[in-house]
């Protein structure tokens, strides 16, 4: 990837696509990733515009987590793929510290209280603790954590722990936020509340979000666009724009437009799930 290292004159002079859309914040082209004999991703292509909320659904084991680890900078794709961030080609490792990443589990540190967990990323960046704490304290009410700043993670409910983890992600102010099934472990009611709350917060801060989920309803309810991934080796099977009006109300899930979208997406996922199911039945036959 020699070209990746060349300096670029700037985003304005580059117009890779003849689309009216603004230049994508993140662009992935022909991304492959193999682990030994297993191909996790193959020819994956996606782009995310600034301020967009993109959700990703797919059968289990489709390489969603691999995709995430690449965008978070934790894993390097195979040579030959193109990765562009903020208009510049880069290696995945260059994304470390430039994307705010929230993994599936909250991963809170049990020896840190709510505020100190929330400021973890700021501390790593070198912001003085007092300043970081003051910043976090101002954000607490918005995350439904007012009055809980001195509590430790083992004193909090699952939903609250998840909000602390989200706050930690929000305080690490980066243009792109990666959320990997953040509500997967929550009960249905808490999950619905958190979805609505996330939309409110997103509308206020307008960060770009890439959100992985298993749940088609969640993908449609939250996203501007839904990417359906294929069975392993993963690539994008379907890109579905969601033109539901915002702000979205909870009862939107029963609207005919929502149901129509859901049917399209479910069909696509079903097809891929069958494929991955059959290939797993065929005893890991080489793909």
């Amino acid at each position: 990837m020699q070209a990746a290292r060349l300096p670029h004159p700037g985003p304005a002079t580059e117009a890779p696509q003849a689309q009216p859309r603004p230049e994508p914040l993140l662009e992935l082209r022909a991304i492959n990733k193999t682990f030994g004999a297993v191909a996790a991703l193959s020819g994956l292509q996606a782009s995310i515009a600034p301020g967009e909320f993109v959700t990703v659904v797919g059968p289990s084991g489709c390489g969603k987590s691999t995709l995430f680890n690449i965008v978070a900078g934790l894993e390097e794709p195979d040579a030959g793929g193109i990765l562009r961030f903020e208009g510049k080609s880069c290696h995945a490792a260059d994304l470390l510290g430039r994307v705010s990443f929230m993994p599936q589990r909250d991963l809170l540190f049990p020896w840190r209280n709510v505020v100190d967990n929330a400021i973890l990323a700021l501390e790593v960046e070198g912001m003085p603790r007092d300043q970081a704490r003051a910043k976090a304290l101002k954000m607490l009410p918005e995350f439904g954590l007012a009055g809980f700043e001195k509590q430790y993670p083992n004193q909090l409910s699952g939903g609250m722990r998840q909000r602390v983890a989200l706050m930690r992600t929000f305080l690490f102010e980066r243009n792109l936020m990666l959320l990997d099934e953040p509500f997967g472990a929550l009960d249905a009611l808490t999950r619905a509340m958190m979805q609505r709350w996330l939309l409110d917060v997103w509308q206020k801060y307008r960060r770009t979000i890439l959100f992985i989920t298993h749940d088609v309803d969640e993908a449609i309810f939250l996203g501007d666009r839904v990417l359906v991934m294929t069975a392993r080796p993963g690539s994008v099977k379907l890109e579905q724009a969601v033109d539901l009006p915002r702000p979205r109300r909870p009862d939107i899930v029963t609207s005919s437009e929502f149901v129509r979208l859901k049917r399209t997406l479910l069909d696509a996922i079903e097809e891929e799930s069958m494929k991955s199911f059959q290939s797993s039945i065929a005893q890991e036959k080489p793909q």
Binding site: L74, R98, P103, L107, P110, V124, G147
Partner: protein, 271 residues
């Protein structure tokens, strides 16, 4: 800023504190009561069954003998305490350091760790003879024997603790752009702390053993010296006196380490 949630929380915390205070006091009273009962049983059993003082003297006799020559016991206690503390502190620090080094540098671990293991198979008596040859009958010699007994369990447990770090948490820290140093100080060492304290509690007892064994190679003050002198003169009461003083030192030191652990590793006890 006094939202209702905040005030009710601080009230709850205050209430919790006022409950735990007498709770710890009650625990202390119970402990004292237990000790008193044990003392009464000791004293009573000796009188009741007519146990000869050669096997078990009365507790009161021992305590009176100690009170008659307090200087020897106090000096011995302080001297042994100093040896124990120096050995414990250096062994603990060295153990944590080596645990981190072995965790970070695999090659060093494969080269040096086996030597550590071999060193621990040498009986402490043999090792003690060498140390006294090298350093003479100094306080340093005893501290080195205490060090010899303590550094290994601390090294092993530090390494074990560091290896329990969740790779997902490491990935999270790296995604924030954390350096290796930040990773160590903010994640790996705190994660290993409960495991390190398991070893430190063990090291508290072992360092006392090291100090006392060290004194047996020759010295003029120390609880080990008192014990040895009493054995040579078959002074049973003095043996018991030295034993009680050593028990007091060992228990006290262990309790201090355990108390520090409860303060520092508050989260693992609550889970």
């Amino acid at each position: 800023m006094s939202s209702p949630a905040a005030t009710s929380l601080s009230e709850a915390a205050a209430a919790a504190r006022s409950i735990t205070m007498p709770d710890s006091l009650r625990k202390l009273i119970r402990l004292m009561l237990g000790l008193a009962i044990a003392a009464v049983i000791w004293e009573g059993a000796v009188l009741l069954f007519g146990i000869r003082p050669y096997y078990l003297p009365r507790l009161s006799t021992i305590l009176m003998a100690m009170a008659a020559t307090p200087r020897a016991y106090i000096d011995g206690f302080l001297r042994t305490l100093a040896e124990t503390l120096i050995g414990f502190a250096s062994g603990g620090a060295f153990g944590v350091l080596m645990g981190i080094v072995f965790f970070r540098v695999r090659a060093l671990r494969e080269m040096i760790f086996p030597i550590f293991v071999v060193s621990q198979t040498i009986p402490v008596i043999a090792f003690g003879a060498l140390v006294v040859l090298w350093f003479g009958n100094t306080l340093l010699a005893k501290a080195i024997i205490a060090f010899y007994l303590t550094f290994f369990p601390v090294t092993v447990n530090t390494l074990l603790g560091l290896e329990t770090v969740d790779p997902k948490q490491v990935a999270l820290m790296r995604s924030f752009g954390a350096s290796n140093r930040q990773l160590l100080l903010r994640l790996q060492l705190p994660t290993a702390l409960p495991q390190i304290f398991v070893a430190l509690r063990l090291a508290a007892s072992l360092s006392l053993v090291g100090a006392i064994v060290g004194e047996w190679f020759g010295d003029t003050t120390g609880l080990g010296v008192l014990l040895l002198q009493a054995m040579f003169t078959e002074n049973v009461v003095a043996i018991w006196g030295a034993l009680l003083a050593a028990a007091l030192l060992g228990t006290g030191f262990y309790a201090v380490v355990a108390a520090v652990e409860r303060r520092l590793v508050f989260w693992s006890a609550e889970q």
